[in-house]
């Protein structure tokens, strides 16, 4: 048990990722309000992005641009650009999802006059 805690404490980033991920799922599953469900989804998505950033972080690394005329290239001083590019794309996808979902939520509110899932199920019958 003690060993487990030690391993966990050595990886605070991943602990934060797990907490965010589970918290988001919990909100999605438990809250009846559709906007709160969306917030839960947003937290889950953010946790995945946090995971990407967490493993690609590098102390003291610089942008991977090689200046012209530079001598030998030392890869250890550059950050890996790929996870960051993935992060940016994932954020774009996340924003697009949020846009579509908010449009849907507002359409649901205009149509049914409520955002509570239980009331919606009642009205759908």
């Amino acid at each position: 048990m003690g060993e487990l805690f030690q391993t966990l404490l050595q990886r605070p980033n991943f602990v934060v990722f797990v907490i965010l991920f589970l918290w988001g799922i919990y909100i999605m599953a438990v809250h009846p309000n559709l906007v709160k469900k969306l917030i839960g989804l947003y937290i889950v998505q953010t946790s995945a992005i946090f995971f990407l950033v967490a493993f690609s972080a590098k102390d003291g690394a610089t942008v991977p641009i090689i200046l012209e005329g530079a001598a030998a290239v030392d890869p250890s001083i550059y950050a890996n650009p790929l996870p960051h590019v993935l992060t940016v794309t994932a954020i774009v996808v996340q924003v697009a999802t949020l846009g579509v979902s908010l449009a849907l939520v507002s359409a649901i509110y205009r149509k049914f006059g409520t955002l509570d899932e239980d009331e919606l199920i009642e009205k759908l019958k």
Partner: protein, 488 residues
């Protein structure tokens, strides 16, 4: 030039979709025609691409001239080419059909046609993508447009579209998480590279977790039981013109994405505590095929019944591709092509019944066989024969090859599942036909005429189902060949 056909297949609908608001700024009525023209061009390009792959063999297309592993690769192999052609043809049929059966308010709606075209480009990208992150992006392009299309007509569908969105986005996030695990373990996202580096890393928990996340994410997208709950409600309430297109493409293409990953990464020797992973996947397929069929049997709403039928077929295809031998794999892929056309035809029929007779449940269709157009009855019979899996339709030969593959692998549970799901399918179509040909109380024979476009779509779909059956040997041989050539 010919080698650029895949990107052309992607760019044509994308460009037309994006420029649709400008092209139709003055004349709204042009929307359906522009969409139809674009899809016809897509079908032609897809045929040319298939011909190109048949003569030249599979090629890796490097986007922007940057070759893999640095650049983004698209794999243009025979399976991708065949499925791209299937998707284009199905889109053509459903769009012709959508000119008649369309919800009021959507006929000349620019956003609606834009969404359809952008969704097609997303699907094409998903078929060709040979890079895990590319798959994620196209998956989301197709899914986001899909949510919007389900909700296009408003009403109840809004709530079901929201549920679809919640589950679908969660699935996509799981997929993203899975691919980042694989990236951490291997340092690459290219599928060909991954299949080189992964076999020796299979004992790593990061890789196992990554593959599980990817599978869970994609099984939400492909509506594999028990993660199918978004599908029946969304499909039953979506606009009638949208459902055939969605039902025949989204789940199948997500399955194709999984098949690519499974085929290149999971070999029959990969085991979890002495149980091969492929067998586990196959058992999941068995459960989906049986439970999906049983759930379809107890439905009273036609669209929901057909939706569950589609869910059970996803299970059948998963059985086929997870048997670990070429016969089963080719059978599964062949069944996938058939299933795309069958689902499109089924939902076109269900939509047409709703449009002409305002009938949506089993009770509503009672005695409809005596009053409805012979086109509807005939195409329903052809599709039913194909869904049950009787010769000479394509459905039979797909199931036949899956069973042959299962016998070859000596997995008798899979054989049982295929046969049992056939019986279940037969059961629910029996229910449909018992009502369909029920003698009406008052005999008033007034046959209705269905529109020319509808006759074209239904006729072509039925023709395609039978033609695939008659040409099954060629197609299956061709799929087998591409598998053994290391295509996929």
């Amino acid at each position: 030039m010919s080698s650029h056909l895949p990107i052309l297949l992607f760019l044509v609908p994308f460009f037309m979709g994006v420029s649709m608001p400008i092209l139709t700024a003055k004349r709204r009525a042009l929307c359906p025609d522009i969409t139809l023209g674009t899809v016809i061009v897509m079908v032609i390009v897809a045929i040319l691409n298939l011909r190109f792959v048949l003569t030249e063999g599979p090629i890796e297309y490097a986007l922007g001239g940057w070759t893999a592993p640095l650049g983004i690769a698209w794999l243009n192999d025979s399976i991708a080419a065949v499925i791209a052609l299937t998707i284009s043809v199905v889109s053509l049929l459903t769009i012709v059909y959508g000119r008649v059966v369309v919800t009021t308010g959507l006929e000349k709606s620019v956003p609606y046609y834009t969404l359809i075209l952008i969704m097609m480009s997303g699907l094409v990208g998903l078929i060709f993508a040979a890079d895990l992150f590319n798959v994620f992006v196209f998956l989301e392009v197709a899914a986001l447009t899909g949510y919007a299309l389900v909700a296009a007509s408003g009403g109840k569908a809004l709530v079901y579209a929201f549920r679809y969105l919640l589950l679908g986005s969660f699935g996509a996030t799981l997929y993203l998480l899975g691919l980042s695990h694989l990236y951490v373990a291997t340092g690459t996202l290219n599928m060909a590279d991954l299949s080189d580096r992964l076999p020796e890393l299979m004992t790593s928990t990061a890789v196992a977790a990554g593959l599980i996340y990817i599978f869970l994410g994609l099984s939400i997208k492909m509506a594999l039981i028990p993660l199918h709950s978004w599908l029946p409600d969304a499909y039953a309430n979506a606009p009638s013109s949208v459902t055939p297109f969605l039902a025949s493409t989204v789940t199948k293409v997500a399955l194709v994405a999984w098949v690519r990953i499974e085929y290149s990464l999971i070999t029959p020797t990969v085991e979890v505590s002495a149980v091969p992973v492929l067998v586990l996947l196959e058992e999941l397929g068995v459960i989906a095929a049986l439970v999906g069929g049983a759930l379809a049997l107890i439905q009273t709403d036609l669209k929901r019944m057909f939706a569950y039928g589609g869910v059970s077929h996803i299970g059948l295809i998963l059985i086929g591709v997870s048997l670990g031998n070429d016969t089963g794999f080719a059978g599964g892929m062949f069944y996938l092509i058939n299933d795309a056309i069958m689902q499109a035809a089924l939902f076109m029929i269900a939509g047409a019944i709703l449009h002409y007779h305002n009938a949506s449940t089993l009770d509503d269709v009672r005695g409809l066989g005596h009053v409805t157009s012979p086109w509807l009855t005939a195409s329903l019979i052809v599709v039913a024969i194909a869904m049950v899996g009787l010769p000479p339709t394509g459905g039979f030969f797909g199931k036949w090859n899956i069973i042959l593959g299962a016998l070859e692998a000596e997995h008798y549970v899979a054989v049982f599942a295929v046969v049992a799901s056939t019986l279940l399918t037969f059961g629910y179509f029996l229910k449909v036909f018992a009502n369909w040909f029920h003698q009406p109380q008052a005999v008033e024979v007034k046959t209705i005429e269905v529109a020319r476009e509808l006759r074209f779509s239904l006729g072509m779909a039925s023709f395609a189902i039978i033609a695939l059956g008659l040409m099954s040997d060629t197609v299956v041989q061709y799929l087998l060949e591409s598998v053994s050539r290391g295509g996929i």
